[in-house]
C-alpha cells in the first residue's frame, strides 16, 4: 500500500441511532487505495447502517467522514455517488419496470452531458451500460426489463450500477457491496470474487458477508461489528474463523454436528414425485422425501430447484408427472390443498413472499396455523400473544417484541418468525425451504438449522434448497443434484461416507 495518496475513506467517531438502538456506535476506521475490506457481524450489528451512512442515505448523528482526503457530509445519495461511492444494497434496489441500461445509468447520467435538459440519449445509455456490463464480465441485454431477470442477474445489474462511479480528480472509487453473495450460488460467487479482485485495480472495496471463509479468501483486511461497535480490525493473514466468531458474538457458537437419522428408508415417503415436468423449466423429476430426513436440492441458479419446490407446494402449475402425499396421488393441486395436507414452504424472497411485512409477529404467526389462538373463525388475542411470545422466546427473536411490525426486524429475525409461522402447525408433514439462510449471520443460521432439525426429529420430511454445498453436506441426509432442469445425480449421505464438494459441482455444471 503506497501512502502517497490520502486514504480513500477515513471515518472518525461515527455514530447513528434509531430511537434507543445505537445502530452504529462511535466507529473510526481508514481504508487505503486498492484495499478490499471485509465487514462482518451478527444480524443487526449495524453493518448496513454504517454503509448507508457512507452512501449518503442515512446521516451520522456524530463523527466526521473523509473521502479521498476531502471531508464529506453527504446530503443525498447523489452526493455520495459523485464523490465516488458506489453501493450494492442488501435489499435489491432496482426499478423492475425499467430496462437494465436505465437502471445502471440511473444515477450517473451526468456523464452524458445532456443532463441540463434531462434528455434521454438511448443510444448512449445502452452503449454505456453495455460497456459497464462487459467491464464486469456479465453478458446481459441492456434493453431487457429488469423485472424479467432472475434474482442473480438482477444482482449483477446492481453491481454494474455501483461500478459506474467516477470520483473527481485522481480520487479512488469506493465500491460497497452489502452481502452481494447472499443470493448467489457457488458458481456465481466465484465469478463475483474474480470481479472484486479486478475492482482492486482501480478501486477500494468494502465487502459485507456472513460467510467467513469467503471474507478470509478475498479480503486484505476484515472488520467485525457487534451491537454497532467496531470490535475487530485486522489483516486477514493469520486470522482464524474462531477469532472472528469471538469478536462477533459474546459467546462463540457451539458448532453442533448433526447426528444423521438412521431411520430405515423403507419408511413410507411423506411426499413423492414421479416424472414431474414443467415445460422449459424442468422435466422428468422423480424423488421422494421421507419423514425425519432432510433432502437437499442442489444445482446452479436456474437449474429449476426453486420451481420444483414451488410446484410441489402448488404454487405453480406443472405440465406432467404425479405428486403423491402420504401415499395418495394429488389432483388439481393448489397451495391451499398442499397446506391442508401438511406441507409448508419458506420462500427465497422472504420480504415479498415469505411474510406480511406490515403485520406484527403475533399476526404473522397466527396467519396459517393459529391452532389454540383461534376457535373456528374467532381469534383469541390472549392466546395469539401467548403463542407468539413462546415462539419469540424459543427462537430468541430480537427485538423480543411480538407487537412490532415484522418489516422493522432484521432479516434473520424475520426468517425466525417465518419459520415459526409454519412450525406452529400441529402436524407438519413436509417442510420446504428455499435458501432459508439467505442473509443470515452465523448465529442465526445455527438457530434456524437447529429448528429445521428439530422439526425433522419430530417426523417432518424436510426439502431444502441450500445456499452452499457445505450447507447441504452439513444438513442433508440425501442430496439431489439438478442440472438445467434435470435430475443429474443423487447421494444418500447416510451411505456415502465422505462426499467431495468438487464432485457435486461437477454434477451441477
Amino acid at each position: 500500500m503506497t501512502q502517497a495518496y490520502p486514504p480513500v475513506l477515513k471515518l472518525t467517531r461515527i455514530s447513528r441511532s434509531f430511537g434507543k438502538v445505537k445502530a452504529v456506535n462511535n466507529v473510526s476506521l481508514q481504508i487505503d487505495r486498492g484495499e478490499v475490506i471485509g465487514l462482518t457481524g451478527e444480524n443487526g450489528a449495524g453493518k448496513s447502517t454504517l454503509l448507508k451512512i457512507l452512501a449518503g442515505i442515512e446521516r451520522p448523528d456524530e463523527g466526521t467522514m473523509e473521502i479521498n482526503g476531502k471531508v464529506a457530509n453527504f446530503r443525498s445519495p447523489n452526493d455520495a455517488f459523485k464523490a465516488g461511492v458506489g453501493v450494492v444494497h442488501q435489499e435489491q434496489s432496482l426499478f423492475t419496470n425499467l430496462s437494465v441500461a436505465e437502471n445502471i445509468e440511473q444515477q450517473n447520467q451526468s456523464r452524458m452531458g445532456l443532463e441540463r435538459f434531462g434528455f434521454q440519449n438511448w443510444k448512449r445509455i445502452n452503449a454505456d451500460a453495455a460497456a459497464v456490463l462487459k467491464k464486469i464480465g456479465v453478458n446481459l441485454d441492456p434493453k431487457a426489463r429488469v423485472g424479467d431477470l432472475s434474482f442473480v442477474d438482477r444482482q449483477m445489474v446492481e453491481i454494474a450500477r455501483a461500478v459506474c462511479v467516477e470520483p473527481g480528480g485522481d480520487g479512488t472509487p469506493l465500491i460497497i457491496l452489502d452481502e452481494p453473495t447472499a443470493v448467489l450460488e457457488q458458481a456465481e460467487v466465484e465469478v463475483l470474487e474474480r470481479e472484486i479482485l479486478k475492482l482492486k485495480k482501480f478501486a477500494s472495496v468494502i465487502f459485507v458477508s456472513h460467510r467467513l471463509d469467503e471474507v478470509l479468501r478475498i479480503c486484505d483486511r476484515v472488520l467485525v461489528m457487534r451491537h454497532g461497535v467496531l470490535t475487530s480490525d485486522r489483516s486477514t493473514e493469520g486470522v482464524t474463523k474462531d477469532e472472528l466468531f469471538k469478536a462477533m458474538v459474546d459467546d462463540a457458537p457451539t458448532v453442533s454436528t448433526h447426528a444423521r437419522s438412521s431411520r430405515p428408508i423403507e419408511l413410507k415417503p411423506a411426499i413423492e414425485v414421479q416424472g414431474l415436468t414443467m415445460k422449459g423449466k424442468f422435466r422428468d423429476i422423480s424423488f421422494a422425501a421421507y419423514p425425519g430426513r432432510i433432502t437437499a436440492l442442489v444445482g446452479t441458479n436456474g437449474s429449476g430447484r426453486g420451481r420444483i419446490m414451488r410446484a410441489l407446494f402448488g404454487a405453480e402449475e406443472f405440465d406432467g408427472g404425479t405428486i403423491e402425499v402420504a401415499g395418495k396421488p394429488v389432483h388439481n393441486w393448489s397451495i391451499r390443498k398442499a397446506v391442508a395436507a401438511g406441507l409448508a414452504y419458506v420462500p427465497a424472497e422472504r420480504k415479498v413472499e415469505g411474510m406480511i411485512g406490515g403485520y406484527s409477529g403475533t399476526r404473522n404467526i397466527a396467519l396459517v396455523h393459529p391452532g389454540e389462538a383461534a376457535r373456528g373463525q374467532i381469534l383469541r388475542p390472549g392466546k395469539m400473544a401467548e403463542t407468539a411470545q413462546s415462539w419469540f422466546d424459543r427462537l430468541d427473536v430480537n427485538p423480543n417484541n411480538i407487537k412490532q411490525p415484522l418489516d422493522q426486524f432484521s432479516g434473520g429475525n424475520q426468517q425466525k418468525v417465518v419459520l415459526a409461522k409454519w412450525l406452529n402447525s400441529s402436524d407438519l408433514k413436509v417442510l420446504m425451504l428455499d435458501h432459508p439462510l439467505r442473509g443470515l449471520d452465523v448465529g442465526v443460521s445455527q438457530a434456524v438449522n437447529a429448528e429445521i432439525r428439530k422439526a425433522c426429529d419430530h417426523g417432518t420430511a424436510v426439502i431444502l434448497i441450500p445456499d452452499t454445498i457445505e450447507e447441504a453436506l452439513e444438513m442433508a441426509d440425501e442430496i439431489i443434484v439438478l442440472r438445467d432442469g434435470q435430475l443429474s445425480a443423487r447421494h444418500d449421505l447416510s451411505v456415502a461416507s465422505d462426499l467431495a464438494i468438487k464432485e457435486i459441482v461437477a454434477e451441477m455444471v
Partner: protein, 340 residues
Amino acid sequence: MTENTAQSSAFTAKKASGGDMAFLTKLREFSAWHTVAPPLVFFAMLLVVGVFNSNYLGPLGISIATASAAPILLVALGQSMVLNIGSIDLSNAAISLVGAILLAMTIPAFGVGAMIAVLALLTVIGAINGLILAYTHVPSFALTLGTLGILQTTALVVSGSETIYLSENRELVTTLYSAKLFYIPLTFWMGVVVAVAYWVLLRLTRVGQNMTAVGKNESGAILSAIPTKWVKVIAFAISGFTGGLAGIAIVAQAGSASASGLGSALLLPGIAAALVGGTSISGGLTNPLNVVFGALTVAFVPIAIQAIGFNAAAQSLVYGIFIIAVVTLTTTRTRGLVIK
C-alpha cells in the same frame, strides 16, 4: 399498491426526521395521531361552527350532522372494507341507489321481508364483483366501473325512470330516520353498529385478519395459503351488503327513491369519508370506527359552509378548501407507508 418493505421504512424514516414541515414531522412521529385525528377534526369543526351559531353545540348540531352523514357513512364503511384489501369499489354507491329503488318498490307489499330480500340480492351483486375480480384478475377499478354502468341502467329501468314513492308501510322505514336515540337518527346508529361489527371482524376474526393481510402483501398472503379469492369475494359482498343498508338509509330519509335522486352522488363522498377516516387508499390499513368520524366530517362540511353563511356562489370553492384542510390534518402518515 403499497411498497412497505423494511428498506422503504428505513428511507422514509430518514425522510421524516429530515422532514419538510416541523409540525407535520411531529404528527408523523406521533404515530397514534391518525387514530385520534378524525374525531378531533370533526369536533373542532363543530366547535368553529358553534361560534357562528351556538345551536350547533347543542343536540341540534349533532342530529343534523348525523342525519346527513348516515348514507355516506354506510357507503364509506363498505368502501373501506374493499380499500382494505387493496382494491376499490366504484359501484357500491350505485348498488345502494338500486337498493333504495328496489326497497321503495317492494316494501309497500312485503315490508321487512322486502328489506331482507333486497339486502340479500345486493350482497350477491357485490359478491359477483368479487368473483369476477378474483377469477379474471381485472383491476377492480376497471371492473367496478363496468358494473357501475350496468347498475345505473338497472336503476333507470327498474324504476321505469319514475320516482318511486312509498305509500304503504311508509313509517316502517321512515321511522328509522325520524326516530331518534340521543338526538341521533336510527339510520346513523345503524352505521355505528355496522362500524363496530366490521371493527370486530377485522381485528378478531381470521377472515378479517386475512383481508388485511391481502391488503398489506397479496403475494405473501397467497403463499401463506390464505384463500385470497374468498377474501376478495367476501370483501366485495360486504361492500354490496353495506351499500344495501345505505339504500335503506336513503329511503328512510326520502320516503321515496329515484335513479337521479338522493344517493345518486354518494361515490366520491364515500371514498373521501373512508380516507378522512384514516383508511389507506393503498390497502392494508383501515379502522371502521374512525370511518364514522370521517363520514361525519365529510357530511358536515357543506352544513358548516351554509351555517357560517358563505355566499352561495362561493360554496364550491370553500368546500374544496375544507376537504383539503381536513384531510391534511387526518391523513395517516405511518412510517414507511408510501403516500399515493
